[in-house]
Symmetry: C2
């Protein structure tokens, strides 16, 4: 992540890491091993950073914020563990996945453990409104995954429905990270909504770039296999853009490729050609940029904050990231 | 379940079913289909009954109790959905499992959905202490599953550790059902603990009988395949009892059978012979009876309640059940 963000947040992230470390020592050796493998895999920590940034702009970072920052990473980790089972992924962040090393069972169980740990940590933190925000977010995330699954291989997926999927599966947690900061800082419902909308827009942009990187990123830079979405028959913006501009023969070809249980390199290349030719890559990046601009515009009332500029820097990072 | 219990609880269970039905109508058709399949599969509803029984003995059944009864079934259902993935089960309660019909992915996702639904329903119900009880229980249940996995095929599993596993994976939820009834009824910490201990003892008895039925029950009566635990290399009381009484040669044979990736009918018969000869079946049933007696003894202070006798009837049912 960008140097200025890292420098600003390092002391807080160290506190978050210490809190996480404290939660990862159980009386169950197998659980500890799996947890440490997952948490040591050097994630971007974008959700904790987003919460901490929101706190700083709203006022200050308190001990309650450190806990919330940590549990945002726990919830994210839980979904990764279950996603890797769902998608049969073998690598994540350049390292073998838990299901690859220990089997699907452990990935399901430890994902469950991270979920329950999140809820219990939030109960411990004692702010029922914050608990409600994150608990609602986890439900929406699960719904997003199920709707996505329902639409696997559906070349007629409406663009609005696609946006609804990425809103639920990714943006609601970003939204929760920001809204909870405003709630803890004591802001009223209107301001909390503003922060929630900021996070939601940023989250949609984040997922759009994620979906883009699945087409344009290499495994070396992203740590994930390229064309994972395509292999899993997930239709995301780059391809939806291409389908909307393809003639019926071309759509039929795309559909045939999607239906192939094993997709060849030639299949991938063909789809990438449709995407590129339609301008799907640029359109996705542009839409992400629009969501980022809208996100930042929501917070113009906070422009007096000494940390306000960090918002733009983070939004920029989300747009430019290559992993 | 026994006629007297059914008659007493039918009106309340109808309310529970209506609450559940209301929660199962989402805007996601695929989710609704899976949920209905799971909830229609005619489970024993033992956890809701246990909560309602505790409420009646403590005083009365309120709307908050109906919600808690329903979420105890949601949490249980979530664990079944994930267990079926973990154990690769194909049938449950005599019907195909979700992972069998829709794949592991859906079983993981809908399990997650039931978890988040439980927490959100409890937040909605608004009693933070009850939320803490059930949220703590779900964490313990996950821990129990992981410890069980850690000890797969471990013929040296200590008996205390086995009891700890079944306490976490089963008894804490039974305990939560009873303790929460006392908390909602306004009893103090001591009385709540008494109810918690009652539920825990009953839960251990319930799981002991479950582990017994895996050896003695037929698929027709239990709705599950026989010898599932053995196939999954889970060492439960009947076999632990046999191992403790076997000589080193016999233990070596049992270990060899456990290590067979595919266990033949002859393997199963050999293990069942060791179990029967050692008295493992009777010993398991006797221990369950002891736990039931201890459970009931905890509540002797409530013997004036007009519903007190139902406690003994339920405890008896748990001991005698064949599915």
């Amino acid at each position: 992540m960008l140097q200025q963000i890292i420098t600003t947040f390092r002391p807080y992230l160290d506190q978050v890491d210490r809190y996480i470390e404290g939660k990862l020592s159980t009386d169950i050796p197998l659980l500890d091993s799996v947890e440490r493998h997952v948490m040591a895999s050097n994630g971007k920590r974008i959700r904790p950073v987003l919460h901490l940034l929101s706190c700083l702009v709203c006022g200050e970072v308190t001990q309650a914020n450190i806990i919330v920052a940590a549990i945002s990473e726990f919830i994210h980790t839980a979904t990764l563990l279950h996603d890797d089972v769902i998608d049969n992924s073998t690598t994540r962040r350049g390292k073998p996945t838990v299901n690859n090393l220990w089997g699907n069972e452990l990935s399901v169980m430890v994902g469950d453990y991270f979920y329950t740990l999140s809820i219990n940590s939030l109960i411990e933190a004692g702010n029922i409104e914050v608990l409600r925000i994150f608990s609602g977010a986890t439900q929406a995330m699960t719904e997003g995954e199920i709707i996505q699954r329902e639409n696997m291989g559906n070349t007629q997926l409406a663009f609005d429905e696609y946006l609804d999927i990425i809103r639920r599966k990714t943006a609601v947690l970003f939204s929760a990270c920001c809204r909870s900061a405003a709630v803890i800082a004591g802001y009223d419902q209107d301001e909390a909504n503003r922060w929630g909308t900021f996070g939601e827009n940023l989250g949609i942009a984040f997922q759009l770039i994620d979906d883009l990187l699945d087409y344009t990123g290499s495994q070396v830079s992203t740590g994930k296999q390229q064309f994972t979405d395509l292999n899993e028959c997930k239709l995301t913006m780059p391809l939806l853009h291409a389908i909307a501009r393809a003639n019926s023969e071309e759509v039929a070809e795309i559909r045939t490729i999607l239906q192939n249980p094993v997709k060849s390199d030639a299949d991938m290349a063909a789809v990438l050609r449709y995407v590129s030719r339609s301008g799907g890559i640029d359109a996705t990046r542009e839409l992400a940029a629009t969501y980022c601009r809208n996100a930042v515009a929501n917070l113009v009332t906070f422009s007096e904050s000494p940390h306000y500029q960090l918002i733009g820097i983070l939004a920029n990072y989300i747009l430019q990231r290559s992993r």
